[in-house]
Amino acid sequence: MEELQDASIHHTAAKLINTIKTLKNYEPLYENVQKLVCSPSVDRNDMCNTLEEAIKNAGLETEIRNIIFHLVRSKLKPEEKPSQININDPLAYLKRAGVQWDRRVRKSLNAMCSELKMASQGQPRISTDRDELLSKWDELSNYTIDLANYRPVYAPKDILDVLLSLKGPTKAAENTEFVQVPKWEFSHISLPVKNLFELRNHYSDLLRTESYAGSSDMNLQCQRVLESKHAPLCQHLLRKGNTPAPYRGALWSFVLGSHVNSFDIEHWNRLKANVLATDHIVDKLVFKDIQLTASNDDQYFVFEDVLYQVLLCFSRDTEIAQMIQFEHYPIKGKSYEAPPSGVVPFHGICMFAATFCYLFDSPINLYFTFRAFYIRYCHRLTTINTHPQGIVSICLLFEKLLQTHEPQLWSHFRELQIQPIRVVFKWLMRAFSGHLPPDQLLVLWDLILGFDSLEILSIFAIIILSFRKESLMQVNSLDSIEAILADLSSVQVLPLVQLALSRD
């Protein structure tokens, strides 16, 4: 057993080393180590020890530790080989649904292309258009294009309808007898989700009374942790849920490993050049989405122009497609091309980015932190997948918590034949962006990053329903329920989440 563990550590280490060598920051890192080797502090006769000491003193050790922290979190998952699909996998149908959904979305994008006579992989931008786009790059709200024929490819409602129609392998036959009862529960999906006890364990830091540190104390802690540059310490600090606004951007960048290096600036410039050179249908969809959402939002409209830049570059970023872990399942039929980023823009995608406008002034800094957050979290919420924090699991968790801890509300919804998930789905899929006021949304996302989990979304959705239970029990239609839940401007994240976790 020990041997096995030992072997696995060696295996992991070997894998890590190989992966580090492929990273963009490997080269500058290696150069720095080389410089250290030449420095007088490194003794040729005691190379190993003195170099290690020198690496520590130069702060490179922290940098390497952070790199490993990010790698272990994201890139070292066992790779799934698409050819070897286990037929007995109880989640096979879910994976298939995910792949089918992805294909459907791409197909619909391609259909829009042919309808509007645009090349699905973009076409060279005509020079007058390119000049205009370039001259208005910092004020893209003044770049006018006719968007009348464009509409978002999909909205939360579309993905919800697919989720609600998911049929497990055993469930299919049973339901035919009860046509009256809507098929709306996720409980047949055999994804493991935590119960309240397990959640309480996971979020135990939130329930500690000592976490109510005074704000001046918290400022000091933030300064110290940021000086240490340790990503895991930064992450830990976010768990308190009372991060002072001035330190948030820096803390998030450490946790997500999204500090901007010179090669990142080059990357951004290449993305921009690509936007200027190619006219792609996603550009129109990006403009359409921002105009439908952020431009009309009294919390975010001021950032409209930054958002155009960020999302246009996002659409061209092929690194996103490489970093996102797509699930595989062999399905028959034609496959369709996706935009360079692999992400088909949906209704509300820009609201994920809008949140970051309160943290970063420069579009470049904003871009890389948003991109890292998107890849790690938003992607799981906007595609159908089997990830324990994917949208399906988050819905299932919500449903189980509601059934167990709000039985009254549960049966009320049941009597009305309204799926409770319908009322909260857009909150969950958008991680509350555009629904909570920015100061509270940032606290919620602090907790997502601090605990590295999206489960907080379900917990928070439940407690909002609990808080408005009395009003909810008095109404009988979906419209009235939605009206009761429409305004979240007075909601305070931290006390509510603490309450949700500590109740019986």
Binding site: D138, E139, S141, N142, N219, P244, A245, P246, R248, G249, S295, N296, D297, D298, Q299, F301, V302, F303, E304, D305, V306, C357, Y358, L359, F360, D361, P438, D439, L442
Partner: protein
């Protein structure tokens, strides 16, 4: 929301026509209000308190008046004398603060007075312009852009202009509001041309009018590339002693067009003026947010992107500016105990995060442009009422005008000279032998 307000305004009409009991056996309990403005944010708030509407000729306790009505009531000719249970929402000579030329005159006099008294607040410093000129500025009281009244101060203006001929100046008619009649000048010749035309037969009305000309803030703080100004609400319940409160829910008003200093844009007023009444005529006005962004969001953004210290310093400087502008007019204000006033302060922040007072409005708009705006203005009126009224809710000039902490709502105390003096007296009694440390933070 809208249905509710329609129902409420219907109710107010039925009250109006249903006539109010004139016998007034419960005069001390029942409050009668009168308003010149038929705004639902006002009427809903009055009716929520169980007040009844009467006409201006009836006996009223609370009058939300237009400035002209107020002037008439206080004029010697009217012979109207208010009793102890009456309140009105303007000071008789509020124009000392709200007229652009008088505001400047009062602030200049205030600074001179302090200087003469050798007050350290009036310390001065030199500013060197890139063109080689040099101007003298107050170190702590430099919160309005350099301003002259035209035609009276024309020669002084030319002298200042020559020190830095690159700068742009903004001309505003003294008596107008909401951005009317404003234009920019970057060449002296343009001003001369204007003055010749104004004296011509075609514009007799302009000839009589005086203008203020101010150095244009050409380095405004831009957010998302856009220019904005701040609209803050300040409630004054007394000028002597000065009692003033700041409403925490102000907002930023954004230009809908991108900011650009190139000359071709100099005539596009949408770029330069942030008044909603001007912006509404721009092609890109958005009726969902109306170009308004809350001060809370501004603070969140500035803390997140610039840090806490500079943000705190900015908001501290804004409070400082408001208090000193009020102190500047306090000696000339008729501080009638029946009066209170809610001022709309317009402030521009430059890219060094320094706030500049642009103007003060004595009748800030109560028209709601968006749902959020409506909620805000309803709250504003509600909070004003609870600050200006004694705890029993009946207007009474004999009350000491010291509201409880609960009554403040979203207002925060800027300054209460009476309270400050009381505290100082207490402190000096406690430390009779030790030297008193300079109590009031505004001194």
């Amino acid at each position: 929301m809208t249905q509710e307000s329609i129902r409420r305004s219907n109710a107010s009409y039925s009250n109006m026509y249903g006539r109010v009991n004139q016998n007034m056996t419960h005069e001390r309990m029942k409050v009668y209000f009168c308003t010149d403005l038929d705004k639902s944010v006002l009427v809903n708030n009055f009716e929520k308190r169980g007040w009844s509407q009467v006409s201006a000729d009836d006996d009223w306790n609370f009058y939300w008046a237009g400035v002209q009505t107020c002037r008439n009531i206080f004029s010697v000719d009217s012979g109207y004398r208010m009793n102890d249970n009456q309140m009105i929402n303007h000071f008789p000579n509020h124009y000392e603060l709200s007229r652009k030329d008088l505001l400047v005159k009062n602030i200049k006099r205030y600074r001179k007075d302090l200087e003469r008294d050798g007050n350290p607040l009036a310390e001065k410093t030199d500013v060197n312009w890139s063109g080689g000129g040099c101007s003298t500025r107050y170190l702590y009281l430099d919160f309005i852009p350099v301003t002259f009244v035209l035609p009276a101060d024309y020669n002084m203006f030319v002298e200042e202009y020559r020190k830095n001929p690159q700068s742009t100046w903004i001309m505003k008619p003294c008596g107008k509001s909401q951005g009317a009649g404003i234009f920019l000048i970057n060449k002296l010749s343009k001003l001369k041309k204007w003055s010749r035309e104004a004296k011509g037969a075609f514009h007799p009305q302009i000839a009589k009018e005086s203008y203020v000309i101010s150095r244009y803030i050409d380095n405004p703080l831009l957010i998302g590339g856009k220019k904005f100004d701040l609209r803050l609400y300040v409630l004054v319940t007394s000028f002597r002693p000065l009692k003033a409160y700041l409403f925490k829910q102000g907002f930023c008003r954004f230009c809908t067009v991108k900011y650009d200093t190139s000359m071709t844009e100099l005539d596009n007023m949408y770029v330069h003026l942030t008044n909603v009444s001007v912006q509404k005529h721009g092609g890109e006005y958005n009726s969902l947010h109306g170009g308004k962004w809350s001060v809370q969001n501004l603070a969140l953004y500035l803390e997140g992107t610039r840090g806490k210290e500079v943000t705190d310093r900015l908001f501290g400087a804004i409070s400082w500016l408001i208090v000193h502008s009020l102190r500047a007019v306090a000696p000339v204000m008729a501080s009638d105990r029946h009066c209170f006033e809610c001022y709309g302060y317009d402030i521009i922040i430059d890219n060094n995060l320094k706030p500049w007072l642009v103007e003060v409005n004595a009748s800030p708009s109560l028209t709601s442009t968006t749902v959020t705006d409506r909620i805000l203005k309803y709250k504003l009126i509600d909070n004003i009422l609870s600050v200006v009224l004694p705890p029993d809710g009946v207007p009474d000039v004999r009350w000491n005008k010291i509201p409880s902490a609960d009554a403040l709502g979203n207002f925060e105390l800027l300054i209460d000279e009476e309270l400050a003096a009381q505290e100082e007296a207490q402190n000096s009694q406690q430390n009779k032998n030790s030297k008193s440390m300079g109590g009031n933070r505004w001194k």
